[in-house]
């Protein structure tokens, strides 16, 4: 029945892959055998044909050393090779194509009336530090992870075994070491952003209008809009799944069996692929996708027109409580000389 749980998980996580781990094609004992076969039952049990695993004992004490045959291992291996890496690669490639097309079609989504230069505070230093910490760790893990998942089919033929195994080993060690950091920064992310990401009225209309991508004009949104909130909860929830399964994989010394490892590996990979795919979209919308969005995570301030356009409900609050900073004050707060609104007045000597 553990195979069923695995199946169930696939169905939940990735429908199109649910066919992946079909029930094992059982090869019954040779047809037309009438005579009682005393050994057959024994070996059948040993080979785990009917799900009942017969564990023996061995003088050698190590993980699963009592099992003679691990029939599911091959199944897992096939799933990883044929489904995970291939579909994973396709998914990653696809999102880039989609984003490019989107850019070609829609281009940079402008703000009505352009940028006013009058800014409002959106994120504190700490919030931005948390965001970028998570981003850096995530990107590092994504790259190293993809090297391990797709490297054999994409890089190895180019680099050759010797060179590629360098990359692979480096990726593996780096991936293992940065893993826990992901969990930590994820917790920081949860603590500092959770409250503002609770769903509220008006989020639904945002969804119905497809977040403004469908049709003209922007859709109403609060401090965070529906899309951002959804992305946030995806990161938090899937992120935690990835982190936990990753910790299971990275610490084999607790004697967890191969079965748990295989399960964690599948969950880990699928979850990571989903996050990677969506994150590309996130990066696109946060940077070249929409005008004036990146500024919020760079300086912590956004243009008031941008706020009105993308987060009108929050923008209204800014107007009411008049939190708007003039262009001059903004320049001053960014440490520019009075009158100088261009480059930072840093003495960048070395």
């Amino acid at each position: 029945m553990r195979i069923q749980t695995l199946l169930l998980l696939f169905c939940l996580v990735l429908p199109q892959l649910s066919s992946a781990a079909g029930p094992p094609k059982s090869q019954d004992s040779p047809q037309g055998v009438s005579s009682i076969n005393p050994g057959a039952d024994l070996w059948r049990e040993v080979r785990q044909r009917d799900g009942e695993i017969l564990e023996g004992i061995s003088q050698v004490k190590s993980v699963d050393s009592g099992f003679l045959i691990n029939a599911r291992g091959d199944e897992w291996a096939r799933f990883r090779i044929t489904k995970l890496s291939s579909y994973g690669g396709i998914a990653i490639a696809a999102i880039f194509v989609i984003v490019t097309l989107l850019y070609v079609v829609r281009g940079k989504i402008p703000i009505e009336g352009g940028l006013s230069g009058r800014m409002v505070r959106r994120f504190t230093d700490y919030e931005r530090i948390v965001h970028w910490t998570l981003a850096i760790v995530f990107l590092f893990l994504a790259i190293t992870g993809l090297i391990l998942l797709l490297g054999k089919s994409l890089l190895l033929p180019i680099l050759g075994k010797e060179v590629f195994s360098l990359f692979a080993s480096a990726s593996k060690e780096g991936h293992n070491l940065f893993g826990p950091l992901f969990l930590v920064s994820l917790i920081m992310m949860f603590l500092s952003f959770a409250r503002r990401n609770i769903y509220e009225n008006g989020d639904l209309t945002w969804l119905l209008k497809g977040g403004g991508l469908i049709g003209k004009g922007h859709v109403s949104g609060g401090f965070f809009n529906m899309g951002e909130k959804t992305w946030y909860w995806m990161v938090i929830l899937i992120g935690f799944v990835i982190a936990i399964s990753g910790l299971i994989l990275v610490s084999p010394f607790f004697g967890q069996g191969r079965w748990i490892m295989e399960l964690s590996h599948v969950v880990h990979t699928i979850g990571a692929l989903i996050l990677m795919t969506v994150s590309v979209g996130h990066m696109y919308l946060g940077s070249i996708g929409s005008e004036g969005a990146l500024e919020g995570m760079k300086s912590g301030y956004v243009d008031i027109n941008w706020a009105d356009a993308h987060h009108d409900r929050w923008g209204k609050v800014c107007h009411d409580e008049n939190l708007i900073v003039s262009a001059e004050d903004y320049a001053r707060l960014q440490g520019r000389k009075p009158g100088d609104t261009g480059e930072l007045a840093t003495e960048q000597g070395k």
Binding site: N37, P38, L42, Q59, S65, G73, A77, R80, F253
Partner: protein
């Protein structure tokens, strides 16, 4: 070309673990790693059977298929070997292997998993035959000396057989014929010993 195989006769294996000891000793295997182990099914019950398992050198090896750095290769004799200079110790081969053959040393200074180690059919590795380097990494290379794996050589009941598949299957076929009973009874004698 020969196709090397192990075969363990459950009717003969007496769980003496001599094969395990011989392997460890011959190949100077580090503590905590066991290339070969004896598993006893239904220990102490009716129909108890013991088998000595190690890498079975599969013709279509799942370990080779799943290895992310492709460090496995099959020799002309059908022996599945791996290159420790390529291996990154990810452990996937251990998950994929039906027999739990791949082993990992825990004593590497940092990595919780060192590079994988498994039965080489006493055929060493990619290094030059019988070089000290080869011995350090993979153990003895008896095949190059025209000898068979020591585990099988040492087996007192000749339960564990190693060698060319054809030869071994011949031996086995003879045994079954002598044991009598149905041709399809999987080599188990009709009157099961308790």
């Amino acid at each position: 070309m020969a196709r090397m195989k192990f075969y363990c006769d459950a009717e003969r294996c007496i769980e003496c673990n001599a094969c395990v000891t011989a392997c460890k000793n011959e190949n100077d295997i580090p503590w905590g790693v066991n290339r070969r182990r004896v598993v006893t099914i239904k220990d102490g019950e009716q129909g108890e059977r013991s088998l000595s398992v190690a890498c079975m050198h599969c013709s279509d090896a799942p370990c080779a298929a799943v290895c992310p750095v492709d460090c496995f290769y099959t020799t002309g004799d059908g022996i599945v070997l791996h290159d420790k200079d390529i291996c990154i110790g990810c452990g996937y081969c251990f998950y994929a292997c039906p027999f739990g053959a791949p082993q990992f040393p825990k004593d590497a200074a940092f990595a919780s998993r060192g590079k994988m180690d498994k039965c080489t059919f006493c055929a060493g590795g990619p290094e030059e035959d019988n070089s000290s380097d080869e011995f350090k990494k993979y153990g003895r290379n008896r095949i190059s000396e025209g000898k068979l794996p020591l585990c099988a050589e040492m087996c007192s009941t000749k339960a564990l057989l190693a060698g060319d598949a054809d030869v071994i299957s011949d031996i086995y076929r003879k045994r079954i014929v002598n044991r009598g009973g149905s041709a399809f009874n999987w080599g188990v004698s009709s009157n099961i010993k308790g």
